[in-house]
């Protein structure tokens, strides 16, 4: 029986005591088309972070600021400038959603939701805020988006078992960013 490895009930390794049987099975099954079964992992590295998400929220704030500050004296120039700023605002709100989607779908697990029961609601509200930030030029919404993102960042670090701290960012927004300290 030494060649039979029982991995789980009813699954046997191909090298039987009688190699003939194994060979026959191999020959017969060679006629079957090969399909792919994915022993699947979206990202087989466990690398998740909340940095990009926060940077994107700061960018949305900064773009909103810059749109509001755009001088309308030279209309052609102003339109061009606003188009450029809006494009970046759109992209970063979407980037934030993408980063959050990955965290929510691939990183956060049942045990995290049990520990932080507001997590689903928080993610849902953040997604909605990111969409609103795209639709409007509204600083309150942009700031609310950042504050929700920071809350998620803090939960993320807690699930990683590290301490986090809110520090003033080095960005022109002058607002905080959540970093881990240990």
């Amino acid at each position: 029986m030494s060649n039979i490895i029982d991995f789980s009930e009813g699954i046997y390794y191909a090298e039987f005591e009688i190699p003939m049987i194994a060979k026959t099975i191999q020959l017969l099954t060679n006629m079957l088309p090969v399909k792919i079964a994915y022993a699947h992992c979206d990202i087989p590295c466990g690398i998740y972070d909340v940095h990009h998400m926060q940077m994107a929220a700061h960018t949305v704030i900064r773009m909103t600021q810059m749109i509001e500050e755009t001088e309308m004296t030279d209309q052609k120039h102003a339109m061009h400038q606003i188009a450029r700023l809006t494009k970046i605002k759109e992209e970063h709100a979407e980037l934030l959603k993408q980063e959050l989607r990955v965290l929510w779908a691939d990183y956060f697990k049942d045990e995290h939701v049990k520990e932080y029961p507001n997590l689903h609601d928080l993610v849902f509200k953040t997604m909605k805020l990111a969409s609103k930030a795209r639709q409007d030029i509204d600083m309150d919404i942009a700031k609310d988006l950042l504050s929700h993102t920071q809350e998620i960042a803090e939960i993320f670090y807690k699930t990683k078992g590290v301490k986090s701290i809110r520090v003033k960012s080095v960005y022109p927004t002058g607002l905080d960013i959540v970093l881990h300290t240990s």
């Binding site: 009930e9 191999q26 079957l32 088309p33 022993a39 992992c41 087989p44």
Partner: protein, 103 residues
Amino acid sequence: MQVLARFLIVGTSMDPTFPPGTYVLTSSLPYLFTIPKVGDVVVVQSPRDRKHLVKRISRINENGYFVMGDNEKESTDSRHFGLLKRHAIIGKVVYILTLPKHD
């Protein structure tokens, strides 16, 4: 549902039991006579993209089957996409045809 199918395993979520490159034989026949049970290695249809996945049943309750990769750290499974219904289970892995060769 296929009586007999040959699958090539791609990916590392069933390591070390079924390393990538392993060929296995699956069958839907065992589940005509018995119900899937905890510990069974099964080929399932992913609820996300309909791809075939190979996973092990780790829990069963009234709402469905919770499947996981043996290599928990590198597996996207029921921890992410939730419980699977019975019809998502395509077949049981019944036989290992060949394991990948190592140099």
